[in-house]
Amino acid sequence: MNIKYFKIKHCIFLLVLLTAACSDHGIEPKPVLKSPPGFSGTIRFISEWPDSVKRSFLVVFKNPLKSDSDFTILNLKFLSKEIPLGVQKHEFSSLDSAYIPATPGPFSSGSYSYVAVVQQSTENLSLARKDWFVSGVYYANNDTTTPGVMIIPDSTFVKNININVDFNNPPSQPPGGN
């Protein structure tokens, strides 16, 4: 076997790899967005708060809630902090501190199939489907027959994601509840 062949072959291979190694610097900072994507809106409570409600949240799901298995934490892209009990109006923004995402910041652009206000009666915050009751849903284009899809284009902060909550007349519930 020719030793020179080995020397040359491996030296060239090593040089190629070294060149590749110094040609870039790996992970780099993402560019600053001129207008970070996100959403904001207003929730209006048009009836009295029932005493049974222990806490209430704004939630945003990426995919439609067609079955029990769609109600998962991985489909849940936004879970606000608690809406103050008894308020008549609550303004929100994706830049607010929330449970999900844990760190406030730009909200990923894309379409979100289910935006709603939910209530719970349990002692502690629960992520089990059975402990959630939907008290208001976001509708797009005044179509109240199906939940509205929230679309956030790239570099766009979408406003007026408004929801009305009537505790006396709740919307139809997604599958998997009691």
Partner: protein
């Protein structure tokens, strides 16, 4: 319990002293001498042992060796060292007087056969093993300024590290220190914590290491539960016959980050370390003692640390055939806790809410090892150890955990004939935990094993073994399993060796995998009382070929089938992290390596490539944190008293990471990950020829300042420069 343990220590020590009292006055002799190379330079670290016995030693820094307490008789000695041709001296006759030998070793161009201890729990040559094994020389730590054993392990073929978690041929992903599929041992004493079962690499005093042996593939048939993916055994330095003081230190700085956005401190951040060690022998008693202090002002904000490592090894030789070793290893660490970055524009800074997290850790390992060569056929090895761990953080409600792990092992090596070595033993452990994270569970475990290595003349070595393990985790049902193994090593030609092994592995869940209940920085972990043990089936086929003196090639193909593999994941119903059993996983691949001596003893090239296919067979997805391609290479040049080395490491971009942490917005920009390309340079100079026992080193790591992660949201060290020295007086 602690009182009882100390009582057993005392009773065991007393018993051993009594058993050996009669041997203290027997008439014995020694074989001693100096080992030099062909240029009359002393050769340190040469393994010297008497063939067909377990008696041996190693030469010290001045090439001196001594095997004492030998009776009259005829002996055959073998001398072997990396970089030298093996030498066998036959017919050395001791007749009422000691023998002095002057040994000259010839330099070899190919690495000679090294002696291994770990693979079969007795001395075997690497070239005779049925499994793949790698060795890291202890000098690497000083020369390349590795203050942590994990840093050196990163360059071992087929091994990857995800931060501080080892993965041998893809055995592990990342679980924040919980559980390990490789067993770390120090001089044969298993070294895992009683609560998390993790390996604490930073506790090992690297300046005390003579060499590290890494066995790939399931070694459960000998080592039990934790060795399902492999074994890492650290062998500490031999005790010097004469006073020897070593001072080892380094000082370094991290360069400024490549991107201005990341330059949070505006400074080059320093790090340093100093080790003082002393070794000596008084009569039958010898000792190594060392103290290490490490300090780092990290390149990342809120990631500084101070570490203090103490180490003591004492050996009392009752005779040439029996000894008692006491070992103590202590560790104190005060550190900030960097969990993950704020975002990609603040990659070296933590989220505001996590700033100022601190942790203090105290760990202590004490061990006793008793060895007695009962006769030429039987070697008894008994060891007990106690490993205490405590850590506490500074949360508003502090997390604190203390674990006490007690273990003991009795092992007998039997040279039944000149062709059969039987290694049998029994091992037991008990762990008691008091923790705000895991509760107060207890763990019991017991193992019984026996492995026979049979040598045939053709020349074929076969290895057949069996181990039974039983583990009971507090309130969970106990589980046990029999782990058989079979392997062979066949030397087809002098330069062509085939090897193969088939074995099963078993790992019981750790206390932390079953009982962790905590919340930290947005990550909530919940217990899984239904978790089961995992097991695997490993097959390996390998060959080693040296077509000519300057070239050595090695190839191995492997397949690991995992059943009920324990992996962390997110419960989609509540978003909490939980350890669960994957139904089936498969890791298969091939590993190749080439060692080329371009200029004898002066210029060496090495290449290692590993391909891995690691899949969850249920979902078809890649297992997390397992790269598909791993490539390491190095160029080593040594001439006169100067040495230079360049090491390059590549791993492909991992396919799967903790996507849930991105989805839940816990790690912003967590999807950013790249292939790893790192290049390190080492320059060294040896002043020994001038009569001054000093070595100096300059290391530049990550020369091209390449930014990469091993773990989501954690940039690995940026370019850094360090100067180190090693002074042996």
């Amino acid at each position: 319990m602690k009182k009882n343990f100390l009582k057993y220590f005392f009773v065991l020590t007393l018993l051993i002293l009594l058993i050996n009292a009669n041997k203290l006055f027997a008439q014995t002799y020694s074989i001693s001498g100096v080992i030099t190379d062909t240029k009359s330079k002393p050769v340190p670290g040469v393994n010297v042992f008497i063939i067909k016995t377990n008696i041996g030693t190693a030469s010290d820094d001045k090439g001196n060796f001594k095997i004492s307490e030998l009776k009259n008789g005829t002996y055959t000695l073998e001398f072997s060292a990396i970089g030298y041709e093996k030498l066998i001296k036959e017919n050395i006759v001791i007749q009422d007087k000691s023998i002095i030998l002057n040994i000259v070793l010839k330099e070899s161009i190919i690495q000679t056969e090294e002696v291994l201890v770990t693979a079969g729990k007795y001395k075997q040559k690497k070239s005779e093993l049925p499994v793949s094994a790698e060795i890291i020389a202890g000098s690497e730590f000083t020369e390349r300024n590795f203050s942590n054993l994990a840093d050196a392990v990163r360059y071992v073929p087929g091994v990857t590290m995800t931060e501080d978690q080892i993965s041998i041929r893809g055995s592990s992903g990342y679980s924040r220190g919980t559980g390990s599929r490789a067993l770390l041992a120090i001089d044969g004493l298993p070294f895992y914590t009683g609560d998390t079962g993790e390996i604490v690499w930073e506790m090992i005093p690297v300046s005390e290491i003579q060499r590290v042996e890494i066995i790939k593939g399931a070694a459960s048939s000998l080592y039990g539960s934790s060795a399902i993916g492999g074994v890492v055994n650290c062998l500490t330095r031999d005790i010097s016959e004469k006073p020897l003081t070593i001072i080892n230190g380094f000082y370094g700085i991290f360069d400024r980050p490549y991107y201005n956005e990341w330059d949070w401190s505006g400074k080059r951040r320093p790090f340093n370390g100093l080790t003082l060690s002393h070794s000596n022998t008084f009569g039958n008693l010898g000792f190594n003692i060392s103290f290490t202090r490490l300090e780092e002002s990290s390149y990342r904000q809120d990631d500084d640390f101070k570490k203090y490592i103490g180490f003591l090894k004492t050996i009392y030789n009752f005779s040439s055939v029996s000894s008692l070793t006491f070992m103590a290893n202590t560790f104190n660490k005060r550190a900030e806790q960097f969990l993950y970055w704020k975002d990609s524009r603040n990659a070296l800074v933590m989220p505001d809410k996590n700033l100022n997290d601190r942790i203090e850790t105290n760990r202590y390992l004490f061990g006793l090892i008793y060895k007695n060569l009962i006769n030429d056929k039987f070697l008894l090895n008994a060891n007990v150890s106690y490993y205490r761990n405590n850590f506490k953080d500074n949360e508003i409600i502090p997390n604190e955990s203390t674990s006490n792990l007690y273990r003991g092992e009795l092992q007998l090596n039997s040279n039944l004939t000149d062709f059969i070595v039987l290694t049998s033993g029994i091992e037991g452990n008990f762990s008691k935990v008091n923790s705000s994270l895991f509760g107060n569970p207890v763990l019991h475990g017991v193992g019984v094993y026996s492995v026979a290595d049979i040598s045939f003349s053709f020349p074929l070595i076969t290895s057949i073994g069996l181990r039974y393990d039983y583990s009971k985790l507090d309130s969970l049902d106990g589980s046990g399993m029999i782990s058989p193994k079979f392997g062979f090593n066949y030397k087809v030609l002098n330069n062509f060796i085939l090897r193969s092994s088939l074995g099963t592995g078993f790992r019981a869940p750790t206390l932390s995998e079953a009982f962790t209940s905590t919340s930290s920085s947005g990550i909530i972990v919940k217990p899984n009382p239904n978790i089961k043990s995992e097991h695997n089936l490993t097959v390996e086929f390998g060959l080693n070929y040296s077509p000519f003196n300057q070239l050595n090639l090695d190839l191995a193909v492997f397949n690991n089938e995992y059943y009920d593999m324990i992996e962390p994941g997110i419960d989609p119903k509540d978003g909490k992290v939980v350890f669960t059993n994957l139904v089936r996983a498969r890791i298969q691949g091939l590993e190749t390596s080439a060692l080329i001596n371009i200029l004898t003893d002066q210029l060496t090239l090495s290449f290692n490539y590993t391909y891995m296919w690691a899949r969850d067979l249920e979902t078809g997805l890649a297992l997390r944190y397992r790269p598909r391609h791993i490539f390491y290479s190095g160029i080593d040049f040594r001439k006169w008293n100067f040495e230079a080395e360049i090491n390059f490491r590549y791993t492909s971009r991992v396919e799967e990471i903790d996507e849930e942490l991105i989805d839940l917005g816990i790690v912003v920009d967590g999807e950013l990950r790249v292939p790893v390309y790192t290049t390190d340079l080492k320059l060294g100079y040896n002043f020994l020829s001038t009569g001054f026992p000093l070595n100096i080193y300059l290391n530049i790591k990550n020369i091209f300042n390449y930014n990469y992660i091993e773990l989501i949201g954690n940039i690995r060290p940026i370019r850094n420069f360090s100067f180190g020295f090693n002074l042996a007086i």
